[in-house]
């Protein structure tokens, strides 16, 4: 029952629009056709785009892993003053709207670091991808590392292994599932990056995602867009399958946790991990954000709040930033509530432990089904909404509900991924104990699982809200010109000439980043506060 509502929701607001849109690519006046595929793969441009997508995703993933593993050690395995603060700082980029990240890097490489001449280069985009995904690796690997029993390494050292050898032969193999699952997730995010590439890629660099946007929105070439969507879907399903396979191994391995062991204090001998971590924190995360903030304070007459005063004026878009911010807040609130409600239902269903083989495979199918929106191009979702939901049986074109619904579709996988581990960590014998005391299934859900799920609820709500606030891919199709959301307005402003437009965009980026960061920090604090008393 709890599965029916979310499935129906995804069916109507995800599967139907996406399948319809892709289906259009295979039909012309004469019926079924593969002309789109022929055209897409006949063009040198398509092959170049696929190559660029894979190259960006692979490089971005490798760099994130290489830098993220030392970061996981420093931030989760060691103790030092300011660790909580640094962890929070590192986790902020992941929830920053892609538009903000793109603008921040663009500002950095066209401003203070313009002499490097890497403004619209491959390297600059990879750095932005690392900025965005560093915390994914740090978090997945770090939480695992913190739980590894230190005595295993001590045993290896007692047998004569050097620290490096113990790391290579004992620790890294134990962490391998976490690293692999984090890497698969990062690959997924890199391969479907849209906002960053749109802003930083210029005309040289494109990915499947930006190309789908270009083909649908600019050229109205649906057959080619459909062919590209299917390629994108294949790339994404592949990395999802990989992530799933490694995650189930990780959840088994997590049993070797040790409780109550304090992390050792950070020492000078830890420098091989500290140096790359500092480099990322200062260079990759700190610099772009600092550049964004300083640039937003720069005016033709010197330093000042001129750009922030402009936020109330209507620029070339005809809408003030404050008005767009109000639209964004209202939309994101609706989307977050929708996503968390549905996510709770999905997580309850997925946290069951079915006894039969049939039940287990049904659950796995369901699990992948709810991850799919992570991978299907948000652009496809947005455009699919436009072509399916604008006429009977569901005419929602003039309704303002479409944007929150689309944002909820995009946020749902993150919500499920946040709530599910919490519910799965609940010992099934707790439910059994409740049942032997006479509690039926509904009472067990309400009195045992419900209070437990609350632990993840704050974080899930924060993720959903932050994602919705920054959602750009789908929203860019659905927002009406007179009521844009903040990311859509920023993208519009940054593409317009004029110092005032640019300044407004920078100030708006800072505002958006501040709101998102605050929401996430509050959500994390809430989560920890609730978890502490348990």
């Amino acid at each position: 029952m709890a599965a029916v509502i979310p499935i129906a929701f995804l069916g109507v607001f995800f599967a139907w629009p996406v399948i319809t849109l892709i289906g259009r690519g295979f039909v012309d006046e004469n019926g079924f056709t593969l002309a789109g595929f022929a055209e897409a793969f006949g063009a040198a441009r398509t092959l170049r785009i696929i190559g660029q997508t894979l190259a960006l995703a692979v490089t971005g993933t490798l760099a994130s892993v290489a830098l993220g593993v030392p970061g996981a050690y420093v931030l989760y395995r060691c103790r030092f003053p300011g660790r909580t603060w640094l962890r929070a700082l590192v986790s902020v980029p992941f929830v920053l709207p892609t538009v903000v990240v793109g603008v921040a890097f663009k500002t950095l490489f066209n401003g203070p670091l313009a002499f490097l001449g890497i403004g619209e280069s491959f390297g600059a985009i990879v750095l932005a991808l690392v900025f965005f995904n560093y915390s994914v690796i740090v978090r997945t690997v770090g939480t695992m590392w913190a739980r590894l029993d230190p005595r295993v390494v001590e045993a290896a050292r007692a047998l004569g292994a050097t620290p490096a050898r113990a790391l290579w032969t004992v620790t890294l193999p134990a962490l391998a599932p976490a690293i692999a699952s984090g890497a698969a997730l990062v690959f997924l995010f890199c391969a479907s990056a849209f906002g960053i590439v749109m802003i930083m890629g210029g005309v040289t660099w494109g990915t499947l995602e930006t190309e789908i946007y270009y083909q649908t929105a600019q050229l109205l070439n649906l057959p080619v867009a459909a062919a590209l969507s299917i390629v994108q879907l294949a790339v994404v399903s592949g990395s999802l399958a990989l992530a799933n396979a490694t995650r189930s191994r990780q959840e088994r391995a997590l049993r070797l946790r040790t409780d109550g062991l304090a992390a050792p204090v950070l020492r000078w001998s830890d420098w091989p991990a500290v140096v790359p971590t500092l480099a990322v924190v200062v260079g990759v995360i700190g610099l772009p954000l600092a550049a964004l903030v300083t640039r937003s304070l720069a005016t033709p007459e010197g330093w000042g709040l001129h750009n922030y005063q402009l936020l109330g004026t209507v620029g070339s878009a005809g809408v003030s930033v404050w008005a767009a911010a109000a639209t964004s807040l209202a939309t994101a609130t609706q989307a977050a509530l929708l996503a968390v409600t549905l996510g709770l239902m999905v997580s309850f269903v997925l946290s069951r432990r079915p006894r039969t083989a049939l039940g287990q495979s049904a659950q796995q199918v369901l699990d992948s089904l709810f991850m799919l929106p992570l991978g299907v191009s948000a652009v496809t979702v947005g455009f699919g909404f436009l072509v399916t939901l604008n006429r009977p049986p569901l005419d929602l074109r003039s309704s303002t509900i479409l944007i929150p619904v689309a944002q909820a579709v995009v946020a749902l996988p993150l919500v499920v991924r946040t709530l599910l581990p919490v519910l799965r960590a609940l010992d099934p014998r707790q439910m059994e104990a409740a049942a032997t005391l006479g509690a039926g299934p509904w009472r067990v859900a309400a009195t045992i699982e419900g209070p437990y799920a609350l632990r993840g609820l704050g974080l899930a709500l924060g993720f959903a809200f932050a994602t919705s606030l920054g959602e750009f891919g789908a929203t860019s199709f659905l927002a009406r010109p007179d009521t844009p959301t903040l990311p859509v307005l920023i993208f519009h402003l940054i593409g317009r000439p004029g110092a005032d437009n640019q300044g407004m965009a920078l100030a708006a980026c800072v505002m958006l980043a501040l709101v998102t960061g605050t929401v996430m920090a509050a959500a994390e604090a809430l989560g920890h506060g609730e978890a502490r008393g348990w």
């Binding site: 006894r355 010992d427 014998r429 707790q430 059994e432 104990a433 409740a434 049942a435 032997t436 005391l437 006479g438 509690a439 039926g440 009472r443 009195t447 045992i448 209070p451 437990y452 008393g533 348990w534």
Partner: protein, 188 residues
């Protein structure tokens, strides 16, 4: 006519492994039965099957000659005490002991909780968080919790194995004292 519990030819399978192989036994009202065996010999599985937590691959379990096959766990009226207590961490001591009394009147529930805390020697600890209890106290709360709804039968799954010897002996005495009530119990 058999009164009490009757297990006939019960088998429990986990995938391909046979945990319990055609076990038959009866427990009369007031009788205390202990299951002995090496670890991994299926004692817990048999208890879980009686409680309704594992489905039977074959055989029957009946109470007062009624087959329990279609009766879900929460309707069997059998109490069970788990090896590690499984207290609910989000409820305090009184909340745990009173959990099975959800359809009781509020005042009656409070009285019953106080009565049971008295019995297990933890009077006045109702408002205490269960995370602040010692191992022995936690097991006594677990015992009180499983006795509170007046189960027709109490299943004890190695409830004392995690405790030190002195505590274990005190709890054995406590368990023995309440087997005087007309309730059959089985322990492993």
């Amino acid at each position: 006519m058999v009164t009490g519990l009757e297990v006939r030819g019960a088998s429990v399978h986990y995938g391909g492994t046979v945990a319990v192989d055609r076990v038959s036994l009866t427990v009369a009202p007031g009788e205390m039965v202990a299951l002995l065996g090496a670890s991994g010999s299926g004692k817990s599985s048999l208890l879980r099957a009686v409680a309704g937590l594992e489905p039977l691959a074959s055989g029957t379990i009946a109470w007062e000659a009624d087959d329990l096959a279609g009766v879900p766990v929460h309707r069997r009226g059998f109490g069970m005490m788990f090896q590690d207590g499984q207290l609910f961490p989000h409820l305090n001591v009184a909340g745990n002991v009173g959990y099975g009394l959800f359809d009781w009147d509020k005042a009656e529930r409070a009285a019953r909780v106080a009565e049971l805390l008295d019995i297990v020697g933890l009077s006045g600890l109702g408002p205490r968080q269960v995370t602040e209890l010692s191992g022995g106290q936690a097991q006594r709360v677990a015992l009180a919790r499983s006795l509170a709804p007046k189960p027709r039968m109490l299943l004890l799954d190695e409830p004392l194995s995690a405790l030190d010897r002195g505590l274990r002996e005190r709890l054995v005495v406590m368990l023995g004292r309440y087997s005087a009530e007309p309730t059959p119990r089985r322990a492993t």
